[in-house]
Symmetry: C2
Subunit: 681 residues, 2 copies
Amino acid sequence: PEGFTDLDRKAIDTARVLAMDAVQKVGNGHPGTAMSLAPLAYLLFQKWIKHDPSEPDWVARDRFVLSPGHTALTLYTQLYFSGYGLELDDLKALRTWGSKTPGHPEVGHTTGVETTTGPLGQGVGNAVGMAMAARRERGIWDPTSGPDEPSLFDHTIWAIASDGDLQEGISGEASSLAGTQQLGNLVVVYDDNKISIEDDTTIAFTEDVAARYEAYGWHVQHVADSEDLASLDAALAAAKAETSRPSLIVSRSIIGWPSPNKQNTGAVHGSALGDDEVAATKEVLGFDPAQTFQVADDVIAHTRQVVERGRAARAEWQPSFDAWRSANPDQAELFDRMRTRTLPEGWADALPTFDADPKGMATRKASGAVLAAIYPELPELWGGSADLAESNNTAVEGEPSFLPPSRQTKTWSGGPFGRTLHFGIREHAMGSIMNGIALHGGTRVYGGTFLTFSDYMRPAVRLAALMQLPVTYVWTHDSIGLGEDGPTHQPIEHLAALRAIIGLDVVRPADANETAVAWRTILEHNDRPAGIILSRQNLPVLDRSEFGSAEGTAKGAYVLAEASGGTPEVILMSTGSEVQIAVAAREQLEAAGTPTRVVSIPCQEWFAEQGPAYRDEVLPPTVKARVSIEAAVAMGWREFVGDAGRVVGLDHYGASASFQKLYDEFGLTAEAVVAAARESI
Amino acid sequence: PEGFTDLDRKAIDTARVLAMDAVQKVGNGHPGTAMSLAPLAYLLFQKWIKHDPSEPDWVARDRFVLSPGHTALTLYTQLYFSGYGLELDDLKALRTWGSKTPGHPEVGHTTGVETTTGPLGQGVGNAVGMAMAARRERGIWDPTSGPDEPSLFDHTIWAIASDGDLQEGISGEASSLAGTQQLGNLVVVYDDNKISIEDDTTIAFTEDVAARYEAYGWHVQHVADSEDLASLDAALAAAKAETSRPSLIVSRSIIGWPSPNKQNTGAVHGSALGDDEVAATKEVLGFDPAQTFQVADDVIAHTRQVVERGRAARAEWQPSFDAWRSANPDQAELFDRMRTRTLPEGWADALPTFDADPKGMATRKASGAVLAAIYPELPELWGGSADLAESNNTAVEGEPSFLPPSRQTKTWSGGPFGRTLHFGIREHAMGSIMNGIALHGGTRVYGGTFLTFSDYMRPAVRLAALMQLPVTYVWTHDSIGLGEDGPTHQPIEHLAALRAIIGLDVVRPADANETAVAWRTILEHNDRPAGIILSRQNLPVLDRSEFGSAEGTAKGAYVLAEASGGTPEVILMSTGSEVQIAVAAREQLEAAGTPTRVVSIPCQEWFAEQGPAYRDEVLPPTVKARVSIEAAVAMGWREFVGDAGRVVGLDHYGASASFQKLYDEFGLTAEAVVAAARESI
């Protein structure tokens, strides 16, 4: 590339040496790909990525996603070279307790890392999400620039994907959607090394990846040799210049190059090379085999010039930003709010309340009404569904879809800056794209599907929790209450399985008003994901003059109905659609002279955050007679009901019939709760 | 097609009318696709599928997979037409309690249904698995026929896939592998109707599916109009004739055709048409709008001829089978054993036992040794991994890979009838393919990945449990014990989340000998899936002259170390790699004069199946002081430790460091267990 000298080549080889040395020192890790990706990574960080290491949060920076997180050294070495604060000692501390260089890159842990990767395929979804978020954010802040005009917020999402990433279905889902969305701001380089852990990928991966991406509508280029910097550079230039489609560059590399004995083998993927091979490779590269972590002063001085170039680029950009700020005070205010994920004053006043109604309303419908009410207040809020808009009640009427103009249909109009997302039948990519959207900036995104299909997106949900990203899952049709679709569609174990995920709030409101408070509380948190779990079937809207206030939802659990006399002999606790059964059981018990309290527990995680005083107030430790009822597996409820309690739930799969029939046949009835209460007393 | 008459066209239209009427009667369901798929489904069941409805379990029958399970009526109507035992009353009972016609097809529930579908994409994976199993089974039973020669066991796997199926990543994963495997016995018809729930798929699905499948190495054909029976017929013929590659037929259809007002809309996908539109459509088709479930006698008499044709086909085949039986007594014995999933006498004698060894052995390594030992005894056992053969210890040395000859590599040799599976980095497809393999016949298949990535395959695991398929997941690297790879790779919530799945045995052995008994017990069950959860790190091989016998593993829980004096003051319970911590804690407690029992609980599900007498013997109800220790979330353990007990676990994600460091830093130590025991006493 123009301006590149022998010093650049030496820096690239230094990156290879550091990768070998770091893995050799700790005794485990993944050296091979870090060696062969060194030229590409160097070229990206030194030339193509628009970034300022002295301001890693610069809004207009390009983003870089390393989907094969196992080659973390690829990234760490460039962060060290580029002056992000990583130093040689950090590389020496690779994969050890407390280091800045964990086994896989972790966002929030190491400056310059944009997303946590490792589970393969996720990075591709994240990158697609970032590219979508970049378009939407730009449309929010800079609506006067037309879609085809440049904007000061424009930037590029660069990603590297490995053989493993492209075998995982999630990357195919996300890439297909990227094609539909014509994401011209996305460039993915496929590191085509034809080696994975089981060695030569011929045993399992023989497809024509380039042709597949062409079929998705991507712009596809080939680089025959990843050591050929000029070709790589030209391909990156062409990819960036292509703004009407996402770009894939298929770059053929030799894993572990130039290790004389281990290049192009599965062995070099996930194991240290061994002292002899490290030495032999250093000799090939002209490094002193007797030294480790050898970085020439001129190399690091040269590579650190990124900082100055970055500062200059940002300084050049700053006036346009300042001018934009002055000219667009409303957008600037929104911009500032979004940068800190702060909600506007008084936004919650727009939340609807719902009148008592015994016939009731499905909580999914209430959720739709809540979204419609708060959309005008929160421009940062957007979302959609995995092809279930009407079922999940996720699309707000009259809002434009987020679509290239040519992708509009008679049902959905919109534009490139639209607000309603259409993920297609791709729950896993939806989850990963939502993560990318949240990582990219301050919008608040939600995505819907049936609760059963939370399983399809579970790896992405876990990563959202691990990364503490404020995304919201709208999971409807939340139990056997969905009825006729039968056992494949009826969640039984999902509530427990989701509650098991650390850092995820699982919120299952009992009626329309709990739904409103649930949404408010979810949005008030900006440091974690939440799933709002909603019914297909109508649920009575409880009369809050008779029952406890739905405000209790925000505390995770609250006394919905107090025992007569104020001192319960038994506590019935429940969530969502089964709360009405607890209420009915209470009536029977009270009629028979048993003082009975009903506790609604819409969110165990929020309840756990309350102090012990409140928790003991709601569930007094002296009351040992307790019954939980939830149309789901019992797992987790013993913690609440104790040794003397009873759990009314399901220990089998569902069936295809009307929901009323299923509740009766499966014994999820007031009578069963009453019987369990009598046993417990 | 040759021989087809107006009566066939009338039968096809009758199928459309039945679909409309059945949905209209129950008030919900999916009529549209059943209407437009009627010609294809009829052609398949009447002409192309080799089957005998009077012997639905005929080993040489073709298999049919309806991946879009929501269009269950497509299948139910053809089963009714073909004489599988479904009658008009069953269609009238669609989606009601106890009917043979649930909302989605359920294998084992309705005769003629080969797999449970509904969660999209799974059927494609199932079909790929069936095609692989067909090849392997044929290789086991009929090894003297060369790969390119016909065999009496040959047959074809036919599948229908929808837009939704092909958007889901799992279908892409499975289809890519099908290309690598050159599955010439697989024909998938893609019902290209360009409509999903959010209507026109242009908003989310614009890729060139045919080109994508060509990129996978499939044989791809187009049918421009799904009502054109002759074209469909010719395409099916060409697809069947193509035996060196899997075939995709892209068949363009109009959903809901010929409904005058609702065809080609999202509305007709998942809702009843309404009385008026049903009437209007009947008029178009020449049916009496005043009648429902109208089936002309000549139509049903005509379609039921399938039974006679099927009987004749089977009768024609039978002599070749009988001849094969006589000529191959050993294979015939194996055949009979596999048909009933019966294990051979004495097979378990081959299981290894492991000598006591404080330094120990990783249970994943013990698992590999077990597999190597029993492979000669159980030809029906085969398996592989999602590109982690060496890590999961799933590949038995010297065994041939299941690969087309051209896909062999320097690391893996084999052939089309080989035994070691290479799934690629595709956990989800692996799960779905394993289901297809188990559905197809009596082989016993296992598949490995890291426990964390059980999340990637979870929807398929759930379906295995729902279908009660005896597949085995080898999930290794089962905790923070995997060490340096860090939090993305360290399972924390997975044990709880998997135990929440009804019908799945979750087995986590504590040492090498528990591993052997675990494998034996898993294989002795033929009515359910199991996950065997294995350590990366070495675990002491316990000295069974000192500790309880590893045979206790088969009961799910057993007394590993009795309290001194025989009456425990406290019980420590644990699983897997943490059992050694419980043992160490017991030593400290006993030294301090506290009689302490250690209970190993490798499988909660097996323990639950024991009678109360045994359960109370292991965990005497009188002993309230109890501590559990597991390197995982606490969820589920309260059930075992009770109100007075303590749970030592993790309530946060892991980190990147050596496993010893992590156990210490996270307080998973004997000291912590001792302290918890003192609190509990």
